[in-house]
Symmetry: C2
Subunit: 587 residues, 2 copies
């Protein structure tokens, strides 16, 4: 095994090209073995094996600097830079993250998990190099759909003309975004592939780049020779490299979308080891939206390259027909386009991950909210119970979104309420509405839920009590129920429980009512406390005698966290809250 | 005068082409007359007169729909759609805004003030049209530097291939961003202009658009005939129209940057009617940064198409040389590039308007803050005392930015503190730092200010007192001083005054100390209260007996507001706060 001898990039440089091919095959085995056991990004990593070997063969990392876009395709890079243990030894899998990470290695420049960032980051490295007078090569690796992202396009445009020095963009064109590609540039890239690098118009050359086409980015020898040619170039160059997503593993080559990211699978057959067949909110909402669209031709479901956020497979997309829009990786465009759809009489529902809505603060504020366009935003994975990679955590949306004027941000507490809120939002014409999709399991309403949410900021008392009131928002409502139950036991108090429903405002009337026969208000929210919803309650009661305790998460970046530890650390457990109340010596 | 007969676009359609030319000249007179008296966007509006006449001559607004990018170049459109009173009658100038505004006219689709939005907004209108089966023309008007913005590029890419129907992009190429153009696409556009529409590669055609070049967009007949040709097209078309920014007014044609937006001027000479020669923070900081850059070659000043935010004229840019970077309209790129510069050993300082930082929430969070890259962000015009157009108001930055982990957001209260904070930020290597440039006039420190801000979240007591503590952040510090002074008079209380300095955190130690001999804490902040800094203080004291009053602005969009009215409405006046305190019946 060649892999045994490779502990850093210098070891790699001793191999012959033929041996590099062998090594590629060994690495592919490691990638598949690990992914089959714990899941991960499969397709793009399989496609990048040869190019990554060639990068490290030709360039001199970490002096020469690679910036991987999204960095979900950096597994081979990790294997070659001293981290093969994370792929060879199942006990050490968790020691490496799924993304580049400077804490792991000097060969990683940035912690990156969002798309379309590499060119701009690399342009900063290049500019700093030029200012400081050093001579290293700077290489941005991008592909897998990222090229349509506004930041990538801005970076591509800027770097083409403003950097008059070494700058190499390696564009991994595997013909896919996460799902299909969308957008005119992909047609141009496809034309260039057909023409082996020639087309009537070439976007990269139009911008001013030297352009090199490589028809087989999975040929390690070819890639080595291309990199040798561009090494130490004195101007910006794009290498447009065609690769096969999923290369070398038949199931992944065959169904590229399903194998972009994969849960643990049987290596032999590619079948998932387990499938979750219970009720899940993504599927619930997908089916609901399909029904709504069938009933009403003006409803349009929009996603931005992650159809998986609603489990909208190609079959469902086909069913929705022209009422389904995948804008590709272009979240800003999506929100602005939703504003346009709403303004011209349609009913757009744009769903994406909470972490990707971060791309659209300005579009939400300006295009949607200043204009009061009645579009619906479904905020997926906004929860501590969700993805735990630091670049994808969903605990920041409340401060970010809930303080934008005119937006109505709703937090459903169960399935019926979720569906009712979506129905109301789709059909109303007054407000831009965001809805925070629950993530703590599917719960059911006890009775009928409200259908009309047009009286804004009206919280709902679900259990009348006294002395202590628990205001439990969205995903944390069930924790609120438990907490109220434990008050009876711990303090002999029949506490009040409130389902606030509206994240974007305070129900002054209800809060004033509560003030009359309560001494303590507890707020629970599934997100950071700072700048969030509970602090508005604390502020409301600032001059009152009532006490307020705000529970939620500390403002910090947490990576690959253990859920229970995080909950405990933030006292988000009934026992610890009860303890805190006891320490107040009020009851 | 033809203008007298034009009350709506239908009146225009009765004119001959020759008469349209006369009309253009009359409109140009109106534009200049109004701008000379009250200021406004001059250059781009002068350049768009003929094209706008031609648009309304050929198309049928409001059935056919125009979306103006930034919409600062929509003055002629306003004149032709029933709003000429806003240009003819100086008593009615203020009845029209500087941007498109659906409240003014059915011919305006959106309230727009940020760049790069028109194509995406228009694509939503077009998609809705196709779904609803109507047949109107949809026209996005873009130019003046907006094309380099990520959202525009996303929209251009999407619309090229995903809309298979009528979609017209009118690209007004006047060869300028606000300052010079930056980026490879502008080189392509310049090549296309030289080649009268031909170049080796054409970015628009690469994306899949039909492409039409017009060498003189200031020729109304030519524009009419081009629009007649594309009207009712069944596919996406780009019209690349070369115009002269400032057309028809020599001073504006000559110095395009100075005439992008202009304060009142003498119509004869173009000279400003008054110039502010006192001390201003933009110039103070510009000179300070020029000094820093001269001393330290690793300091890099970055702006994004608004050099005016630091009053960095071409002369100063030349002086800064390679240490000055204007990325063009590409804010996302700017923040990511700053992260790259910092990671490779430089000391970037990126300055832009608070409202444009809204474009960069994700880049601040991911590229800068997760990676803890020591870049400095100068947040300009973040204040109620600043720009009052709804699309540009600067009162939302605190909730948006201060709740991002790892960011150190500082609020200086005077000139010396501002400079000291910038100096500290530039030279430290631990944190991404944002600094909120003051906007309430230049104040001076009483004595020495701290040079080191590395002990985070340490507030400073500037006057020791008892019973009432006033925590007055940044721009509102001077109001805090007045308030404290009035406490002595009103209540006979020697109140405490605190300069919090850090927006991003709470000084628990100091707050606990204050708790001992105070009954009331008042927070003052120059921004919306919801999700802001003061609510963190209210939350901190939630279980204490101390009372808290949070002062700042209500979460709402306010347009062309009267400062005094807004301040009064929000009780941001010493008298009204004193009244509120009296109403508590505590003192």
């Amino acid at each position: 095994m060649y892999i045994e001898k490779i502990n850093n990039p210098n070891d790699l440089k001793k191999l012959s090209a033929e041996e590099c091919k062998e090594l590629a095959s060994e690495i592919r085995g490691l990638l598949l073995d690990r992914a089959s056991k714990i899941g991960g990004h499969v397709g793009s990593n399989l496609g990048m094996v040869e190019a990554t070997i060639a990068l490290h063969y030709v360039f001199n990392s970490p002096v020469d600097k690679f910036v991987f876009d999204v960095s979900h395709q950096s597994y081979t890079h990790k294997i070659l830079t001293g981290r093969k243990y994370g792929f060879l030894d199942s006990d050490r899998y968790s020691e490496i993250s799924g993304y580049t990470n400077p804490d792991e290695s000097e060969h990683d420049l940035f912690q990156v998990g969002h798309t379309a960032t590499s060119i701009s980051l690399a342009s900063g490295l290049a500019k700093a190099r030029d200012i400081r007078g050093t001579k290293e090569n700077i290489i941005a690796v991008i592909g897998d759909g990222s090229m349509s992202g506004g930041e990538a396009l801005e970076g591509l445009d800027f770097s083409a003309s403003e950097l008059k020095s070494n700058f190499i963009v390696l564009f991994n064109d595997n013909g896919m975004s996460i799902a299909d590609n969308h957008g005119g540039i992909y047609k141009n890239f496809a034309d260039l592939k057909v023409g082996k690098g020639s087309a009537a118009d070439n976007m990269f050359k139009a911008l001013g780049y030297e352009y090199i086409f490589v028809d087989d980015g999975n040929d390690v020898e070819k890639m080595i020779s291309v990199f040798q040619k561009v090494k130490d170039t004195d101007h910006p160059v794009v290498i447009h490299m065609a690769t096969t997503k999923g290369k070398g593993y038949e199931p992944a080559e065959h169904d590229k979308e399903a194998w972009h990211w994969r849960r643990p699978f049987d290596l032999e057959t590619g079948e998932l080891k387990s499938d979750f067949n219970g009720e899940r909110y993504d599927r619930v909402m997908r089916d609901h939206l399909l029904e709504k669209m069938a009933e009403d031709p003006e409803v349009v479901t929009m996603i931005a390259a992650v159809p998986d956020s609603l489990n909208f497979t190609s079959e469902h997309r086909k069913k929705a027909g022209k009422q389904f829009v995948d804008v590709g990786i272009a979240e800003e465009h999506a929100v602005a386009m939703a504003a346009g759809l709403a303004r011209n009489g349609c009913k757009p529902v744009f769903a994406t991950m909470s972490t990707f809505f971060q791309r659209t603060y300005d579009q939400i504020s300006q295009e949607l909210c200043i204009n009061n366009c009645p579009a619906t935003l479904l905020v997926i994975n906004a929860s501590v119970y969700s993805v735990n990679d630091v670049t994808h955590i969903g605990i920041f949306d409340i401060p970010m979104m809930s303080n934008i004027p005119n937006l109505v941000y709703l937090a459903p507490t169960n399935k019926q309420e979720y569906l009712a809120m979506v129905d109301w939002s789709i059909d109303q014409k007054e407000h831009p509405v965001a809805i925070r999709a629950p993530r703590n399991g599917v719960f059911y309403a006890d009775g009928e839920v409200d259908k009309d949410y047009s009286s804004l900021n009206k919280y709902k008392i679900t259990k009348n009590g006294e002395k202590i009131a628990v205001l439990a928002l969205g995903d944390f409502y069930q924790m609120g129920e438990e907490l109220v139950a434990s008050m009876a036991e711990s303090f002999g108090i029949s506490a009040t429980l409130v389902n606030p429903r509206y994240i974007t405002g305070v129900d002054s009337e209800l809060l004033s009512e509560i003030e009359k026969n309560h001494d303590l208000v507890i707020t629970l929210e599934d997100g950071v406390v700072d700048g969030g919803w509970g602090q508005k309650i604390a502020s409301f009661y600032g001059t009152s005698d009532i006490k307020v305790m705000n529970y939620g998460l500390k403002k910090e970046f947490i990576d690959r966290y253990n859920l229970n530890e995080v909950m405990e650390k933030n006292h988000l457990c009934v026992d610890l809250i009860v303890e805190d109340i006891k320490n107040l010596r009020m009851f």
